[in-house]
């Protein structure tokens, strides 16, 4: 079995985020990055498939030089090899462009299962997994909290609204978009870390993958107009008095709003 894991590197959850001068994105200099939290669960799910039987785990990421670190971390955790799409045009693509790049890799790699995170901590789009599944001609399931593979299919549990669960079965090959908290993500072990530098990282451009024309800023249908921090509102009202008085006033306000 071969599985492919799509990883995105995002700003560290504790990083101080400032909007870039041109308002197009955040200021990326001098901030720490980490693997998107959803993707760490996707990677863990893939590594469990590897632990359970024979599986080659290929991790894939699109992004600049810094992404090497995310890929090496994944290799340190147990992935077997990595594909790094390092191409400014790829970075400038919208979700569809990125899905096309990943689909081109999937076409080359022919994985039995593609694991993605349900969404990215930074962009919150949740767009790429279903787009990639469509482009790769694979059935997909999102919000996955566990998966179990048999010879020809894969059975997954999905998280629904209100604490409900759903069990679905998909034929392989297929794509799974994993929810956070799905599993206990392992740490890279010292041995894994020592081996990581010997594992292959294939560096590619969109052109290498034959999709150079279809991606990039020019091909993007969704464009970011601006990034901004909403201005502070002056509608805040400070409640004063003893704790009891404040609580009484607060409950009154909540009732007024009809929330209670």
């Amino acid at each position: 079995m071969k599985v492919m894991v799509c990883l995105k590197q995002v700003p560290h959850q504790d990083a101080r985020l400032d909007v870039a001068a041109d308002g197009s994105w955040i200021q990326e200099d001098n901030i720490k990055f980490e693997i998107n939290s959803y993707d760490t669960y996707a990677l863990e799910e893939a590594l469990r498939a590897k632990d359970a039987g024979e599986a080659e785990v290929v991790v894939v990421s699109i992004g600049p030089d810094r992404v090497t670190q995310a890929l090496r971390t994944a290799l340190g955790m147990g992935a077997d090899r990595a594909v790094h799409v390092k191409d400014p045009e790829a970075d400038a693509s919208d979700s569809l462009g990125k899905a096309k790049i990943l689909a081109a890799i999937a076409k080359q790699e022919e994985p039995d299962v593609i694991y993605c995170g349900l969404m990215a901590d930074d962009g919150n789009f949740s767009a790429i997994p279903p787009m990639l599944a469509e482009l790769a001609g694979m059935p997909s399931a999102t919000g996955v909290i566990s998966s179990e593979a048999s010879d020809t299919s894969i059975t997954v549990r999905r998280e629904l609204e209100g604490g409900c669960r759903e069990v679905v079965e998909l034929p392989r090959p297929c794509l799974l978009a994993i929810q956070t908290g799905a599993n206990q993500v392992r740490y890279a072990s010292l041995k894994g870390i020592m081996q990581a530098k010997k594992k292959p990282v294939d560096v590619k451009t969109a052109a290498d993958l034959g999709v150079g024309e279809q991606v990039g800023a020019g091909a993007a249908k969704v464009k970011i107009n601006k990034i901004y921090i909403p201005p502070k509102s002056d509608q805040a009202e400070l409640l004063e008095g003893s704790t009891d008085e404040i609580v009484t006033q607060l409950v009154g306000k909540i009732r007024e709003l009809g929330v209670l």
């Binding site: 670190q69 971390t73 740490y187 010292l190 870390i193 020592m194 990581a196 530098k197």
Partner: protein, 408 residues
């Protein structure tokens, strides 16, 4: 050489992630004694594969000894690739630095336990390695390394009173140890004692004792200024009999070299403690810079005031120097160039700066820095131990001075 390579960087990321997820949430319970550090030690060693990395070389060494090959004490942890964890001393430094950014006490628990295992591996026989070092490395057992006595601190060897009397096919230990990290809860103890008679009489040797052996008792954890997450205590030895194979090293070695494995462990302590101090310094500098830029008084960030800005600049200088020393130590270990002078000056400088920088960090944070809501007051209390344990500042100064004056 002044930057982490890719492997070291990955190690740093992995340990930091572990600390953020597992250690940070446990600090309040560790600090108030509601939780002991040993479950976390086990998790640390297994989650990050430290156990696996330590057990491999220990097993190879035991096999080599069982094959009847000469027992040549080597530098310990890794027999074929190089000194230290994973054959690279910087990996242990990065590991300890990261732990000590959050909990210097857990760092101490780790070095005391693994230090005991390392001493056994370096000079012990195959049986001692299998029975004691490997279970410690697997984190199934907790180790303690006991040199200091009530009457023998800085002069640990000269004033040592704990005695090991040869008795048939073993030794009988009598004496008392104090300020021993992990002692209240350890399973395995490397105990230094003076050989009372026969071969090697008068020399100091290490003997392994186990909890449960008759004649070995430990005291309760001591109340301390800091390092609350690292239990410290006494060991009482009253006719405690240990079998012959629990002697670590050989009796008959010459006086001049007799304490070499102990000194190796001491040097080891001195090479890891700078990295531990670096963790404290790095965290304090990061927190202080962030706060000084954000906190405003008199309508400006406090970082704009020269009184604060110059403090930050000096803290940054200490950080740079401490980091360079940690790199230099690793470089020297890799090349077999580590000597007492370098180990002592690195330990001295980093310990002094950990105390100074953590005090400044509290000052920069004002009232908030003095509260236990921020990590700084804890780091400051914890930092102080590094000016005492592993040889006091004064002893480091003495070692450095002796090394440079004897060269003339």
């Amino acid at each position: 050489m002044f930057e982490l390579d890719e492997t070291q960087q990955l190690m740093q990321d992995a340990v930091r992630a572990w600390c953020e997820r597992e250690l940070v949430p446990a600090v309040p319970a560790l600090e108030t004694g509601k939780q002991l550090p040993y479950e976390l030690l086990r998790a640390l060693m297994t989650d990050l594969g430290l156990a696996e990395a330590l057990v491999g070389p220990a097993e190879r060494r035991a096999i080599k000894l069982e094959g009847g090959v000469e027992n040549e004490p080597d530098s310990g942890e890794s027999s074929d690739s190089g000194p230290g964890l994973g054959g690279d001393p910087m990996l242990a430094s990065v590991l300890l630095k990261e732990i000590c950014r959050v909990s210097p006490g857990l760092g101490m628990v780790l070095i005391a336990s693994v230090g005991c295992g390392t001493a056994i591996q370096a000079a012990g026989g195959a049986k001692a390695i299998r029975d004691y070092a490997i279970p410690i490395f697997r984190a199934e057992k907790i180790g303690a390394w006991a040199l200091t006595e009530p009457g023998a601190g800085s002069d640990a060897f000269g004033s040592m009173r704990t005695a090991a009397k040869p008795d048939g096919d073993g030794f009988v230990l009598n004496g008392q140890k104090t300020f021993i990290s992990n002692a209240p809860y350890a399973d395995i103890f490397a105990i230094y004692a003076r050989v009372a008679s026969g071969d090697g009489a008068g020399a100091v040797r290490a003997f392994v004792a186990e909890r449960g052996m008759s004649g070995l008792e430990t005291g309760p954890p001591m109340r301390k200024m800091g390092l609350h997450d690292s239990p410290t205590g006494e060991i009482f030895l009253n006719d405690c009999r240990v079998p012959a194979e629990n002697l670590i090293g050989r009796l008959e070695a010459k006086r001049a070299a007799d304490s070499s494995s102990t000194l190796d462990t001491l040097n080891l302590e001195r090479t890891v403690m700078p990295a531990m101090c670096l963790g404290i310094i790095e965290r304090c500098v990061e927190e202080s810079v962030r706060y000084a830029v954000e906190r405003e008084q008199f309508g400006r960030p406090i970082a704009d005031f020269q009184g604060i800005a110059f403090k930050l600049a000096r803290m940054e200088l200490a950080l740079e120097n401490a980091r360079n020393l940690v790199f230099k130590l690793a470089w020297a270990q890799q090349r077999g160039k580590l000597d007492a002078r370098l180990a002592s000056l690195a330990k001295l400088y980093c310990a002094e700066q950990a105390v100074a920088v953590s005090l400044d960090a509290i000052q920069i944070h004002g009232g908030a820095g003095y509260t236990a809501d921020l990590p700084l007051e804890k780091l400051m209390r914890d930092a102080k131990v590094f000016e005492i344990g592993g040889g006091t500042n004064e002893i480091q100064l003495q070692t450095i001075a002796r090394a440079i004056t004897s060269r003339r």
